[in-house]
């Protein structure tokens, strides 16, 4: 969006940065995403490795939160079972808008290796909550996690947040009247 380029020569235009309010807001939002710390299975171990020194997830501006109420996005890292599914739905509902979901690993995307005989496995977390970014792999490499994070940041930056907010308000009115 070119905001940073203008910062290179801040005095040229009298120290004024021109941009839409939405752009600046989105710039801030994309770079300080707090996520709900939620490890489910094998992918969570890769996620731990991702948090550690080699890959350093926090350079994306992310901080793990233990409660959904402080989180901007949720990372579903691992197999979602039917016993767990209702809890995930509840956590998702507790998160404040705007909220996002990254589905990590084949199991969360589509059931992974358990798609055929897994009587107790939910075949894809997108059956219960909306998913914004899918990260493939079983388990995905930390580089894939980073790629998923960059994709999410890009999505947030291009989002028309005010229009979304208006739409959400209208939706909730419809829900209330109905």
């Amino acid at each position: 969006m070119g905001l940073l380029n203008k910062l290179n020569e801040p005095y040229e235009a009298g120290g004024i940065i021109l941009g839409t309010f939405e752009d600046i807001l989105n710039w801030g939002r994309a770079r300080s995403d707090w996520y709900l710390h939620f490890g489910l299975a094998c992918c969570a171990i890769e996620f731990m490795a991702m948090n550690a020194s080699h890959f350093d997830f926090m350079r994306f501006g992310t901080i793990p939160r233990a409660t959904p109420r402080q989180a901007d996005f949720i990372m579903i890292t691992g197999t979602v079972t039917l016993k767990m599914a209702e809890r995930i739905k509840k956590l998702w509902e507790q998160m404040a808008e705007p909220k996002y979901c990254i589905s990590v690993g084949s199991c969360a995307n589509c059931g992974g290796p358990y798609w055929e005989h897994g009587y107790h496995v939910l075949k894809g977390v997108d059956r219960i909550i909306p998913v914004h970014v899918y990260v493939p792999g079983c388990p995905p490499r930390p580089e894939a996690f980073q790629d998923g994070m960059i994709k999410l940041q890009k999505m947030i930056k291009e989002e028309a947040i005010f229009r979304k907010r208006k739409k959400l308000e209208e939706d909730s009115k419809i829900e209330l009247s109905a």
Binding site: A41, A52, G78, G118, P139
Partner: protein
Amino acid sequence: MGEKKRIELDYSKIESDRMRLNVGPQHPSTHGVLRLEVELDGEIVTEVVPHIGYLHRCFEKHAEKMTYPQVIPYIDRMDYVTSMNNELPYVMAVEKMLGIKVPEKVEYIRVIMCELNRIASHQIAVATFGLDAGAFTPFLYFFRDREYILAIFEKASGARLLFNYFWIGGLSADVHPTFKEDVLAIVKQVRKTNKEIEDLLIYNKIFIERTANVGILPADVAINYACSGPVLRGSGVKFDLRKNEPYSIYDRFDFDIPVGMGEVGTVGDSWDRNIVRMREMEQSCRIIEQAVAQMPDEGDVQEKLPKRIKPPKGDIYMRAENPKGDLGFYIVSNGTDKPERVKARGTSFVNLSVLPEISKGYMFADLILILGSIDIVLGEVDR
């Protein structure tokens, strides 16, 4: 040393209200998706009821539907921290059923890989135990080292975490040419870090105060609950399958079995269970050094096998020493290429069942530490 004792209240004399608290399944300290229903009297734990099954991925159902080699990737995903060790008892069981002997070189590579993975697993165990006690730095140190070990696994098998490397009758691929040098470099690094961690965490006064005399597991209770691995050895029982019932080629190596001795508290407390893991890493280093010295350079890594693996009718129980303890597979064969039943005796499953017994009477904050010292992986608890 601070005396921390189990608090036993006489409820015939005291009137108090109990509170039931739910911990998990979404909780950062439950090491996955464990749910604990805790009954508290003030801050003292009076009852713990674990609820498991939040990661029940139907391993045993899949094993019935797959052919023998196809089961191996699912075994990887059981205890996802120690995939190499998981595969070993299963492939040994099928090899024993088929009556085949794997080449010498394969045995050595298997031992080296298993011991490396044991180190990687214990690193995670001690690191997360440190996290539970409030120490973040050891986590970063250990995960830095773990990446070097994973690099070796990746060079050999192509994967960082779930390897599918041990195949029935051999390995999926030979190791890379610089394998031996890489492994020895890691051994050096592991020793260096362990020294640092001992100064930083293990003999730290705060850490000792938090973990000594907490969650004491007496030896007879541990045996009755069929605990194994560092949980059993932390209680002072000198039992290690690698020594007591040597499988593979473990009888060729010289190593000790570290046991808990109650150095800073009582035998069988959380600190003891943790120090056993630290010392086992050193023993693993010793095994790796000897194995690298003895390992033959030349040789095939896959025994010739029929196209369809059809073990004879019958059943077999094979167990091996996992980093978490004694992992067993009970395989029933019906003479076809698919097993009739594969039951996995999850190490963490059995070890976790002792938690209600040893956590009563301690503070709630200690419960988290006791759980951390048992070192469970929910993938294996729920399978």
